[in-house]
């Protein structure tokens, strides 16, 4: 225990690591988070990096950040403003200062604040000495110098290699500041660099050096302790939304007995799913990195016809390219999971920034009457369960499912309580039996309207299907007018009937009353945090967060009719709102929209909701 500084206990803290995109901020942040998890904190992380891999050194465009909130209670988001900012250069200070709480701690590498560097980031004077940081607790650490000195005994380390490891010195300071157990971080490093003894030694040396530096100097007024969170019993791990999506799909493949096939083309921020599944060929996953987005989905459709759990993963522009093929999967009534990790659009938009603006495209962005199931995950960890459910619904109902996540969920991470695969719901695809004389390609289950899956290679089931309209039951090509109307209605009804089996919509907070907040997808954490804060103040408010969108849960209308005011909050220009207006036109809706490539902040939501509650009272 540190003797000079006082120890303060905190329920939660937000820390941001920021530096040049080559400064290793993502690694420092990840190590800090993993250590916090092992030590029993709940957490939520969000990496915020530029689209450029290595933008010019010391420029604002090149700043890469990693934000994490750790807590002793359930943490729902990566937090709005940070308690501690680590800024490795002037540019990262300049870009992130607005996200630091007044009175918060800023740790800088003072060596990096040369005249040239601060001018390059648009400062006219040195922010470390011009008084502009007086409202913060500033810790000036000559990180570059000390990093080099700490490694000077190692002859085989160049200054360049040393500079690249400055992140570990900075992490050492943070480790001390938050009273983390340095041995736990050592263990992660040992796991990560087991095959690179020199790198491991450098990192451990610097981590310890940073820790000891913080312990020695007088600059640290107080250190903090975030007590252990009270988590449900079980085994946990820190997981990102993209990895959770990949694992959910892989679990569904195992549980259903259908091999996993992924046909995808690299696209930010969805690529991590492709990378993750490719790692696990040992579990039988077949991954096809296609020549383009269209080949990605078309290969998946071919694999689906042949009996695989077929998946394609993409982001907005890729979903546009896949539209025609989604129609083919709708027409052929084949299982297919399309994961769209949304990003800010339109067109190329802001690839590394998050948004919820592909909802209407997912619902309606295809030629013809073309219904598909649409669902959305809402936290990094529940991407696992929604990916699993998307696969289950897709196979059991013989229909494409579009699963919407977003960059914030995909790249963000939180603690995940590990399930046992045998505890997950069963998946029973309607596979046709060999030599079934009664098999007809478009003969359906009388209640679910689901057709059977007849796999090539099976005796006695040879048949042809395709994108042309089908005759009801027989599946032969047809242009008969009445048949077309019937088939359009059947396809629609088949998807709508899924509402019979998906769970009812839940309400957090008041079940009826003055104000209902409606949201969907990746905003759950930030909105939930705001609602909790208001509930602590005794405010009466309800929150309905939707994960099932097409079809909507069957109690949706009932819920919407139970409140005087409804506000729909989205990170787009009002797409779910438009959908609800179509489905429930009798209801009056208010809206709150943010389209900045940023998540909602608790503060802005609380202000808005309070204003609505007060309006009623006045």
């Amino acid at each position: 225990m540190d003797k000079k500084s006082s120890l303060k206990e905190k329920e939660s803290v937000v820390i941001k690591f920021a530096g040049d995109s080559g400064d290793g901020m993502q690694l420092a942040g990840t190590l800090f988070s993993d250590t916090a998890a092992v030590l029993g904190n709940d957490l939520f992380t969000f990496p915020d990096y530029p689209a450029e891999i290595r933008a010019p050194h010391n420029t604002l465009a090149g700043v890469s950040g990693f934000q994490v909130q750790i807590g002793s209670e359930k943490i729902f988001s990566s937090g709005d403003l940070c308690d501690v900012l680590v800024a490795m250069n002037p540019a990262s200070l300049k870009t992130n200062l607005k996200w630091v709480k007044p009175g918060g701690t800023i740790i800088v590498d003072s060596d990096a604040f040369t005249e040239k560097a601060f001018e390059k980031s648009g400062y006219h004077s040195n922010p470390l000495s011009d008084g502009s940081l007086d409202v913060y607790k500033l810790i000036r650490a000559p990180i570059t110098t000390m990093t080099r000195e700490s490694l000077s005994h190692m002859n085989n380390v160049t200054a360049r290699a040393a500079d690249r490891s400055r992140n570990m010195f900075a992490l050492g300071i943070i480790t001390f500041l938050f009273n983390q157990n340095i041995e736990a971080t050592f263990k992660f490093l040992e796991g990560k660099f087991s095959s690179k003894p020199l790198v491991l030694e450098i990192n451990k040396t610097l981590l310890a050096a940073g820790y000891n530096f913080a312990d020695t100097i007088e600059a640290v007024e107080s250190t903090y302790k975030v007590p252990k969170a009270t988590l449900k019993r079980g085994i946990y791990r820190n997981i990102s939304g993209n990895v959770a999506t990949a694992w959910g799909l892989m679990a569904a493949a195992e549980r259903s007995g259908r091999p996993l096939f992924l046909g995808s083309y690299p696209i930010t921020p969805a690529t991590e799913i492709l990378i993750e599944i490719t790692k696990h060929k040992a579990l039988g996953a077949k991954v096809f990195q296609a020549e383009d987005e269209i080949a990605g989905i078309c290969s998946a459709i071919g694999a689906s016809y042949t009996g695989s759990l077929a998946v394609t993963t993409t982001s907005g522009p890729g979903l546009s390219l896949k539209s025609e093929a989604i129609g083919l999967a709708v027409m052929t009534e084949l299982p297919l999971v399309i994961v769209n990790v949304q990003r800010a659009g339109p067109s190329t938009g802001m690839p590394t920034k998050s948004e919820q603006s592909d909802l209407l495209q997912a619902l309606w962005g295809r030629n013809g009457e073309c219904p598909a199931i649409v669902m959305a995950a809402s936290t990094p960890a529940n991407c696992f369960y929604y990916a699993y459910e998307a696969a289950k619904l897709s196979m059991e109902h013989m229909t494409p499912v579009i699963l919407l996540t977003d960059g914030y969920l995909g790249n963000g991470s939180e603690l995940f309580r590990i399930p046992r695969v045998s505890d997950l719901p069963e998946i029973k695809p309607p596979i046709a039996s060999a030599n079934d004389k009664s098999y007809k390609p478009y003969k359906r289950h009388p209640e679910t309207l689901v057709r059977q899956w007849a796999l090539p290679g099976t005796e006695g089931l040879r048949h042809r299907i395709g994108g042309l309209e089908k005759t009801d039951i027989s599946g032969t090509v047809s242009t008969d007018p009445l048949n077309h109307q019937i088939m359009v209605q059947i396809r629609e009804a088949k998807v709508k009937k899924v509402a019979d089996i998906i769970p009812l919509q839940k309400i957090e907070g008041e079940k009826s009353g003055d104000l209902l907040v409606v949201s969907w997808g990746g905003t759950e954490g930030s909105i939930r945090t705001a609602i909790r804060e208001m509930q602590k103040d005794g405010k009466k408010i309800g929150h309905a967060h939707f994960n099932h969108i097409m079809p909507l849960p069957r109690n949706t209308g009932e819920i919407l009719n139970s409140y005087k005011k409804i506000i729909v909050c989205e990170l787009n220009n009002g797409q779910f709102l438009k959908y609800l207006r179509t489905e429930f036109p009798e209801i009056k809706y208010l809206q709150y929209n943010k389209i900045q490539g940023l998540p909602f902040f608790t503060g802005e939501l609380v202000d808005k909701f309070n204003q609505l509650i007060e309006e009623k009272q006045s």
Binding site: Y236, H280, A325, I418, P456, R462, H463, R464, G467
Partner: protein, 344 residues
Amino acid sequence: MITNRIVTSEKSLTKEDFESDQMVKWCPGCGAHAILKSVENVFPEIGYKKENFMFVSGIGCSSRFPYYVNTYGFHGIHGRAAAIATGVKLSNPGLSVWIATGDGDSMAIGGNHFIHIIRRNLDVNIILFNNQIYGLTKGQYSPTTPIGGITRTSPHGTVEHPFVTAGLVMGSQGTFFARVLDTNIKMMNEVMFEAARHDGTSVIEILQNCIIFADKTHAKVTEKEVRDDFQLHLRHGERMLYGKNMEKGIQLKGTKLQGVTVGLNGVEMEDILIHDQYEKNPGLHRMLGKMGPPDLPVALGVIRSAEFETYDDMVEIQIESAREQSEIKCMDDLLKSGETFEVK
């Protein structure tokens, strides 16, 4: 072949096993009818169970094919047959996968998938109906329409340089390329059989007549008066001879192929090239594939059949070796792997 996946049919099959009950709706006189006949002739001979054949197509006259043959079949969307077939073959490598496609479907809208399936050498068979026209949309020029060709979208003649299918296939590192006329059923049968037996992407280009929108489009090669001088029927191990009395041959002079007459200008039989379809180096195959009037005959038959590893085999081998090496055998293992901690 690394793994022999042919499952021999228990009872011998006949062409009736592959006849569909659907009405064939191609125009009377269309070259596509002959291709259908050839498939029905050859499929019983290939050695697969009838349930292990699969046809995939895109859009166009050619792409109605799956409806007319009794196999598993998938009629896709325009240009995407190769991509769909990739998923089919990877998902079930035990299938004999056939693609029916056209010049527009594969070399215009589907050009990207066409070159990449060939580059990967996926073990599928592509029957490419090249009638040098868009038939189903009623007569617009295609990427293989000869320059100057008059069509409904080129009333003054096209000003586009056409693809030579063989050039595109070889340029994409194709391992099997054959070319046949829609009127030569015997050669078509032979080529289909060889394509089926080839491990890798087999492209069979069929010079097909569209009686409605591009009648006699291949006339420079097929008409009675010219066919002897402009058709070279290649056979592995035999000299490249053509002409009414097989008096002409192909000679390599410098870096170019030339049509010469044996016995004239000092040309002797030994000067005429011998066809080696199995040669891995594609140089000569590329030149043979690009031959054509007015200087040279069109090469017909199997031009190239070179053995390289197939994509589907490599995928399977990689999965097998990953399985053997990994300690993670199921999802429960994976979920518990790496950094976890327990809350008691």
